[in-house]
């Protein structure tokens, strides 16, 4: 009697071992059977990522500075932010982190693009159907809360160590915000604006591209901003499975206790995050400007 209260009536150790074994076994089998096909499927992605990384690395640094400065200006229309971005990149180069930064930029950019291409249509689908929303929401919750290491295991089992599994891990983590905010943004579009579209005989696509998406754009943009931030925050974890970039020296510093090295690379990640954040936020604000009455 007392016994049963003292210890939780768990599965017998042997049974549990068998249970886990059978899962591992069947996944290994799956990997053996389809691993190569799946890898092949991701080949174009790998090719694109490598190409983009090489392009960034091959471009002379003054040109990169110029591009960074003008993109920051185009996004934010702020001299302060644009010159801040250039200064940050000069500092990064001066402290010898240029190449790692380019690699990180490459993977974050590609991951963000993938998230946008998958996430926005997903968000639109969720906004359109209640069913899709109830199905996808818990999935997004899991993606955001499950520790990254847990989904790294099957990804690595399937694809091994390298850029593609790293990219996938980053995307899994960074995808939810853009999906959620696209869905939210579209659902928040005013009933009146939509009714007007219907009353004038708009088709589904005229409604979507003419009214819903443009009106949801500030929210979608906030989602993209968060997605970029989350992709950046995955850089260190991604480097554990073979992604080049600023995460690699950080990992090295942890195992060897190099304080300065870790700090510098960490700060470089922070600098990238701040630049991305300010530029996209300012851009998002500009998108919304004429909706609040001030003359433009």
């Amino acid at each position: 009697m007392i016994d049963i209260l003292g210890e939780f009536p768990a599965m017998k150790i042997g049974e549990l071992r068998e249970f886990k074994k059978s899962i591992d076994g069947s996944f290994s089998e799956f990997t053996g059977e389809y691993g190569e096909a799946i890898e092949g499927f991701f080949d174009p992605l790998l090719w694109f990522l490598v190409w983009f990384e090489k392009l960034l690395l091959a471009t002379p640094w003054p040109i990169i500075l110029l591009i960074v400065g003008s993109l920051a200006w185009a996004g934010s229309r702020s001299i302060k932010i644009a010159s801040g971005a250039i200064l940050a990149f000069i500092a990064i180069g001066y402290f010898g982190m240029w190449e790692d930064t380019m690699s990180t930029l490459a993977i974050v950019s590609v991951a963000t693009l993938i998230c946008i291409f998958i996430g926005i249509p997903m968000g639109i689908l969720m906004a359109r159907s209640k069913y899709a929303q109830t199905l996808v929401t818990p999935l997004l919750d899991i993606m955001q809360t499950i520790p990254a290491f847990v989904y790294l295991i099957p990804v690595v089992m399937l694809l091994g160590i390298g850029k593609v599994p790293g990219l996938i891990a980053v995307c899994i983590y960074a995808l939810p915000p853009v999906v959620r905010l696209t869905n939210l943004g579209i659902r928040l579009v005013s009933k009146e604006a939509l009714e007007a579209a219907d009353a004038f005989g708009a088709s589904y696509s005229q409604r979507l591209f003419g009214v819903q998406i443009p009106l949801a754009l500030p929210n979608i943009f906030a989602g993209i901003n968060q997605t970029i931030m989350m992709a950046l925050s995955m850089v260190v974890i991604a480097s554990m499975i073979g992604v080049a970039g600023l995460g690699v020296p950080v990992l090295r510093s942890i195992s060897n206790q190099y304080l300065a090295l870790g700090l510098l690379n960490g700060l470089a990640i922070v600098a990238l995050a701040i630049i991305f954040d300010r530029v996209t936020q300012e851009y998002g604000k500009r998108l919304q400007k004429h909706r609040h009455g001030d003359h433009s």
């Binding site: 007007a196 009353a199 004038f200 005989g201 088709s203 003419g210 004429h290 909706r291 003359h295």
Partner: protein, 349 residues
């Protein structure tokens, strides 16, 4: 009678999970309150039969929740009826396919909304061009084609403003121009001026009446404001709890209200300023005295009638021919407020 543009027959709308079943209860006489209490369904519209004449302004009036918006949205099928028929120029709107309905909305009806329904991410010119763009015309061309409507409502020079930069009255002028730009014959206006200040509202009514002189659109105009209804309506239908309780020309409704609800409605209006002499005259009879045009309102003839020897006057038509006469007594009776049947204590002010 002029020809009928929109014919609505036996229209029912019930909101809820099983509306078809509920229609039977309502047809058997269940009230809106009972339907809500016992079956948790909302009676939106009940057995609506209205013929809306072409090229006239037909007003639908009623208090909040009486089903006005629901009714007008059936005409372009933004709301699906539970049962009934809607014909527009002889075409059955309810049997239209999705594509046909879209074409119908693009070319035959347009709409003006209480909260304007403008697209805040588009400029004024883009908003006005919207209906044409939806028809498949390029934005540039649509802007050119719709520009005259922008001028017509007095917004020339505001092309590149955004709606948020305009006042409410100006925004609704954008809404009106947008609706006119598609050249649709039928204009559906759901409390289009209700959100505006009284002065601006009067302005908008003037603009609408002015436009109507040239355009002769078929306008369905919804309002809860009797003064507005009397000012612009060629005919008025009154809705209560989803039912039409009286329809006719404005003079009839004021002079012969069908029930207490309507009497209540017309209590506060200035009758002397609304009722015209034609609607109370004795047809054919001629008297010694001054003559007035048939559209003159009582207030404007009262002094002259009092001053005349017989306390009477003649009513003449557009050709200045006498068509009837009025006496002081009839004017006085018409100006007196009708008694509320349930409240015989009349309060003469």
């Amino acid at each position: 009678m002029s020809d009928i543009a929109i014919s609505i027959k036996g229209l029912y709308k019930i909101f809820g999970k099983r509306p078809k079943k509920m229609v039977e209860y309502v047809k058997d006489g269940m009230s809106k309150a009972d339907l809500l209490d016992k079956h948790n369904h909302v009676l939106g519209l009940k057995d609506i039969n209205i013929d809306i004449p072409a090229h006239k302004i037909s007003v639908i009036m009623g208090l909040s929740g009486s089903g006005k918006s629901t009714l007008i949205r059936h005409i372009n099928r933004l709301i699906e009826p539970t049962s009934g028929n809607i014909d527009v120029y002889g075409k059955d709107v309810l049997s239209m396919s999705k594509v046909e309905l879209r074409e119908f909305r693009r070319h035959q009806t347009s709409m003006v909304f209480q909260k304007f329904g403008l697209h805040v991410h588009k400029t004024v010119a883009e908003n006005v061009a919207y209906g044409l763009v939806i028809q498949g015309i390029s934005l540039d061309q649509a802007k050119k084609d719709s520009h005259k409507w922008l001028e017509r409502v007095g917004l020339d020079g505001f092309e590149d403003y955004y709606p948020a930069q305009l006042s409410g009255g100006m925004q609704q002028r954008v809404g009106l121009a947008r609706a006119l730009a598609t050249d649709a014959d039928i204009l559906l206006m759901d409390e289009a001026f209700s959100a505006l200040d009284p002065l601006i509202r009067a302005d908008m009514q003037d603009i609408l009446l002015d436009l109507q002189q040239d355009l002769h659109k078929t306008i369905v105009f919804i309002t809860h404001d009797l003064d507005e209804a009397l000012r612009i309506g060629d005919s008025i239908a009154i809705l209560r709890d989803g039912e039409v309780i009286q329809q006719g020309n404005p003079q009839d409704i004021i002079l012969k209200p069908d029930d207490d609800y309507i009497v209540d409605f017309i209590q506060e209006i200035n009758r002397g300023r609304v009722i015209n002499i034609k609607s109370i005259m004795n047809k054919g009879k001629t008297v010694e005295g001054p003559s007035f045009h048939q559209s003159s309102v009582l207030e404007n003839v009262l002094t002259a009638v009092v001053d005349s020897d017989n306390h009477a006057a003649n009513v003449v038509d557009d050709n200045n021919e006498i068509i009837g006469s009025i006496h002081l007594q009839e004017i006085a009776t018409a100006i007196a407020k009708p008694a509320v049947k349930s409240n015989i204590n009349i309060n003469y002010k």
